[in-house]
């Protein structure tokens, strides 16, 4: 769980790393014009970007107002607008325009039903919001009629859509996954600092293969762990908490001047073997009561299934029996699928880190 402040930090880091243009920013929100790079990752407009690539036009990226603390933000906005504010009329929303005269009769004229909501989507992709459609994409009539409506890009200046970005929001998840897409595979060098450039001797650098592993322990329930570990490709030494080792160092993607990298004694594959071996031995030390318990549950469930079908499988009619047998096997498989304990390990990020030898 992240606080709005923490969420803001995550989003700002992403926007900065992807070179977006911050138009306005406060502790509660940020208004940003996305960089082409971020736009590609976040706005889900492959056709538009295909068009840009093929025609070579200057891309027009989208702008957003990301609000991190919607409640406070609205409060402030309301205060700012207080003098002009209308008396709050219960659930009455600000109308987008004068009330069309047809509302009263619309209900009576049942024969024409459907024409009104049906006509709306045709207008929407052009960027025109039909009057009466609320700005909240999940509560609009369109959304009600068509299920979820993908947020339509509204191209053009001045179209800045507000979006609440809180922990658990789709946007934040998307930003993380975009960050992973672009940041998972690394090759980095420790920045030796200015002094190294003027020193006579070239500095020795040690290559490390580092992987941030995610360990998923699964039965009918699940627990996860993360392990950021690295192996030196020269010495084979394994460092369990590699993040700590990186913490004090500046890293750069460019090969610095006046350094040399020690030759690897381990191939990357061999390094990976080492890491997996190490992680396995670490995992072996864990408590596996959960797995035993899951197996016990599985045994119990299977025995219930067995007893239930035992009688039924005595069915004389061959065809019926086959059907029951199929059902029985399916149910057994489902049960195993549901309870069987297992551990799956995947890599969140990975890469080579060249660090100054110590």
């Amino acid at each position: 769980m992240l606080t709005p402040v923490e969420v803001r930090k995550q989003v700002m880091d992403y926007l900065e790393a992807t070179e977006c243009t911050i138009l306005e920013s406060s502790p509660l929100h940020v208004t940003v014009k996305l960089s082409p790079r971020a736009d590609r990752m976040l706005t889900d407009r492959p056709y538009y970007w295909g068009f840009v690539e093929r025609t070579g036009v200057d891309p027009e990226t989208l702008s957003f107002s990301f609000v991190f603390d919607p409640e406070k933000y609205d409060e402030l906005a309301a205060q700012a607008a207080a003098p002009a504010a209308l008396p709050r009329g219960g659930a009455v929303r600000p109308a987008a325009g004068p009330l069309p005269g047809g509302i009263g009769t619309a209900g009576a004229a049942d024969a024409e039903a459907g024409a009104e909501p049906g006509a709306a989507p045709a207008a929407a992709p052009g960027g025109v919001v039909p009057p009466g459609v609320s700005a909240d994409p999940e509560d609009s009539i369109l959304a009600r009629y068509f299920g979820i409506v993908p947020q339509l890009p509204r191209i053009g200046p001045g179209m800045i859509r507000r979006e609440d970005v809180t922990y658990g929001s789709k946007r934040l998840r998307q930003i993380w996954s975009a960050a992973r897409d672009e940041g998972k595979c690394l090759q980095l060098f420790e920045d030796p600092g200015l002094r190294q450039r003027t020193t006579l001797f070239s500095a020795a650098y040690e290559p490390w293969l580092a992987v941030c592993y995610k360990v998923e322990m699964t039965c009918d329930l699940k627990r996860e762990e993360m392990h950021f570990i690295a192996v030196s490709l020269t010495s084979g030494l394994i460092v369990p908490d590699f993040e700590a080792r990186l913490a004090s160092r500046e890293l750069t993607p460019r090969l610095p001047e006046n350094i040399h990298i020690q030759p690897s004694e381990l191939s990357v594959t061999a390094g990976a073997d080492r890491l997996e071996g190490y992680l396995t031995s670490k995992l072996a030390l864990l408590d596996y009561t959960w797995a035993e318990e899951a197996r016990e549950r599985l045994r119990l469930e299977l025995s219930i299934v067995d007893i239930y079908y035992e009688e039924l499988l005595k069915e004389q009619d061959e065809e019926k029996r086959l059907g029951i047998e199929e059902q029985y096997n399916r149910r057994r498989k489902e049960t195993t699928w549901q309870y069987e304990p297992q551990i799956a390990v995947s890599a969140v990020t990975y890469g080579l880190f060249h660090l100054r030898s110590t």
């Binding site: 900065e16 009455v92 929303r93 009263g104 619309a106 209900g107 039903a113 909501p117 049906g118 999940e138 959304a143 009600r144 009629y145 299920g147 979820i148 609440d164 809180t166 922990y167 658990g168 930003i175 993380w176 960050a179 940041g183 998972k184 595979c185 090759q187 980095l188 995610k214 699964t218 329930l221 699940k222 627990r223 993360m226 084979g236 394994i238 993607p253 004694e265 191939s267 594959t269 061999a270 396995t280 072996a284 596996y288 959960w290 797995a291 219930i304 239930y308 079908y309 039924l312 059902q327 149910r331 489902e334 699928w337 549901q338 304990p341 297992q342 551990i343 995947s346 969140v348 990020t349």
Partner: protein, 581 residues
């Protein structure tokens, strides 16, 4: 440094990795990616983004086997304690296979959403199928998206099945070609709403669901035991065959006769392993109050004349037809309509006349009634309604049984400058949603002819006016249920209009004083009615009484009798500890 050889470094490598008590698999695609980037010299990822990705993973890490994670992912939703308890129980005690059998209005959908969200957050579920009645598809999609941030889509075309989380109607899903497609897949989670439609194990629905391959499974129903314990057995067998033993065991252990369980404590214990039933009366669920205001009205002279005319006509016709009820339905309708509006009577009367042979002697009498209708210039009820709406000056829903009345009211209100919308059963889903939106947004009044079992949720409104009353208590309850439900923050005020000296007065007396139905917040009305209606539907009994009663006194005493029977059943139902845990 010692001389080293490739792949033969000191320490490690040679000692085989210890065996774990659990199968372990390493995903290794990353290695190929890294090697190919090394070959090509990039492109390399951004370190800042990489750290961001790690922090993202870290923040969402499921650090414990047995703690609900989903709450931190949900903003703007605060589930009620019983809903959280339910989610917790289904996840950690029932391993994700359960019947959610809360009484109506306690938020089964929320519970199912919580459970689904938790499994999604934990990464235990990605492929989900949700089967619901067609009329609820979009509502489910909407709720999952807006309340839970779950990207569910409604099944529209064949390609919709390709999505990870699909909501579809049972009727579509069980038909080819969809059926075949679905049976060839595996679903991490299957959710079925209105699961009581699955209790017949020979039905296509049942067989279809039985064949679907699923890991976790939720069956939602408000009425797990309606008629027959065998049906409950079938439902459980769908979920966990064998949980109650086989059919024979079940029958000998738990069943006395169809409706009566034995070894109740034991049965309850077994059931609690697969079924959760929260009830309205218990727990910390606070429903707001229902306040009932009966508004007695006196008909104008012209209206009274019309009423008497119609009543006499109806009775005479019934006598003439020799008490044959089935042909009398339209007459009863007439009798009821005359309490609503002259417009409603007019339409029915004209239709009746059209059906008569040209030389029928009844014709003249009916034409006479039409003449009487002409003399009625005002509608006492509509005037009173107008006055009520003006007084409350808040959103209000007006229910009527008749389309003609609905249209009349629409005209009448509009002439008097009220903004109103209509809502009726004939509208398609999109239009219904649209009307609801308008009501929520801009109109003060909604005039509805249908309360429908399907979800119109109008928690934002807490006034309702029964312009006329259905004679079926379930329909009255449905009406109230539109506004008096979870999420309603105000006491609900129910206005019942009844015209003095008409049948309406008696019906209201029956429903209000005898069945006490407007204030009955505890559920179980359906069960009570079902028992009452073993022989004949309540509505029909009422018709008979109305047509046959020779005097007002007789009418009253007959209705009282029905009321007494029902209140007895109600008490019996309350005392009786039901099967469900």
């Amino acid at each position: 440094m010692t001389q080293l050889f490739r792949n033969s470094l000191p320490q490690g490598g040679s000692t085989p990795a210890p065996l774990l008590p659990v199968p372990l698999s390493f995903e290794r695609n990353w290695l190929q990616d890294l090697e190919s980037k090394l070959d090509k010299g990039g492109p390399w990822g951004d370190w800042r983004l990489s750290r961001l990705a790690i922090q993202g993973e870290q923040s969402g890490l499921v650090t414990s086997f047995d703690e609900l994670q989903c709450l931190k992912h949900l903003s703007g939703l605060s589930p009620l304690p019983h809903q959280l308890d339910t989610a917790h129980k289904v996840l950690f005690e029932m391993s994700g296979r359960a019947i959610l059998a809360d009484e109506v209005g306690l938020g089964k959908t929320i519970e199912a959403g919580l459970i689904l969200k938790e499994y999604l957050v934990r990464g235990l579920v990605s492929k989900v199928l949700i089967l619901v009645p067609a009329s609820l598809v979009l509502q489910w999609v909407r709720e999952l998206n807006s309340k839970f941030g779950i990207s569910a889509v409604a099944q529209k075309k064949a390609y919709s099945w390709g999505n990870d989380i699909v909501v579809a109607s049972m009727d579509t899903a069980k038909r080819d070609p969809h059926k075949e497609l679905l049976l060839s897949q595996e679903f991490d989670m299957l959710i079925i709403d209105e699961a009581h439609k699955l209790k017949n194990k020979k039905s296509t629905n049942y067989l279809f669901v039985q064949q679907l391959r699923k890991k976790y499974c939720l069956l939602l129903t408000a009425t797990p035991v309606q008629n027959d314990l065998g049906e409950l057995f079938n439902l459980i067998t769908l979920l966990k065959p064998g949980q109650l033993g086989n059919q024979g065991d079940f029958a000998t252990n738990f069943v006395v006769d169809k409706r009566q369980p034995k070894n109740e404590v034991q049965l309850r214990g077994e059931l609690s392993k697969v079924m959760i039933r929260n009830r309205r009366g218990e727990g910390p669920v606070n429903f707001t109050k229902r306040k009932v205001r009966n508004i007695p009205l006196t008909l104008s002279l012209e209206e009274k004349e019309l009423y008497d005319g119609v009543t006499a006509f109806v009775k005479d016709q019934y006598q003439e037809a020799g008490g044959n009820l089935s042909s009398m339905l339209s007459l009863v309708t007439l009798q009821r309509e005359v309490c609503s509006s002259r417009d409603a009577v007019f339409v029915t009367l004209v239709n009746l006349i059209k059906k008569l042979p040209a030389d029928s002697p009844k014709r003249e009498r009916m034409m006479g009634l039409l003449q009487t209708i002409r003399t009625v210039k005002t509608n006492t009820k509509a005037e009173k309604t107008m006055e009520l709406i003006r007084q409350m000056n808040e959103k209000v829903i007006v229910f009527t049984e008749y389309r003609a009345t609905q249209e009349y009211l629409l005209q009448y209100f509009r002439e008097h400058g009220l903004q109103c919308v209509t809502y009726s059963g004939g509208m398609n889903r999109g239009k219904k949603d649209w009307m609801m939106d308008l009501f929520r947004g801009r109109a003060q009044v909604m005039i509805a002819t249908e309360a429908g079992g399907e979800g119109i949720n109008l928690q934002f409104c807490h006034h309702m006016i029964n312009f006329d009353l259905p004679w079926n208590p379930m329909r009255v309850e449905q009406r109230i249920g539109r506004v008096h439900r979870l999420g309603q923050e105000n006491d609900v005020v129910i206005y019942n209009l009844s015209t003095e000296g008409t049948i309406e007065e008696h019906i209201l007396h029956l429903l209000h004083e005898k069945i006490n139905m407007f204030e009955m917040v505890i559920g179980g009305l359906d069960v009570i009615l079902e028992r009452f209606e073993k022989k004949e539907s309540l509505e029909k009994s009422l018709y008979k009484i109305v047509l046959e009663a020779r005097s007002d006194e007789e009418l009253r005493s007959e209705l009282d009798q029905i009321g007494d029977t029902i209140s007895e059943l109600t008490h019996a139902n309350l005392d009786e500890s039901e099967v469900a845990p």
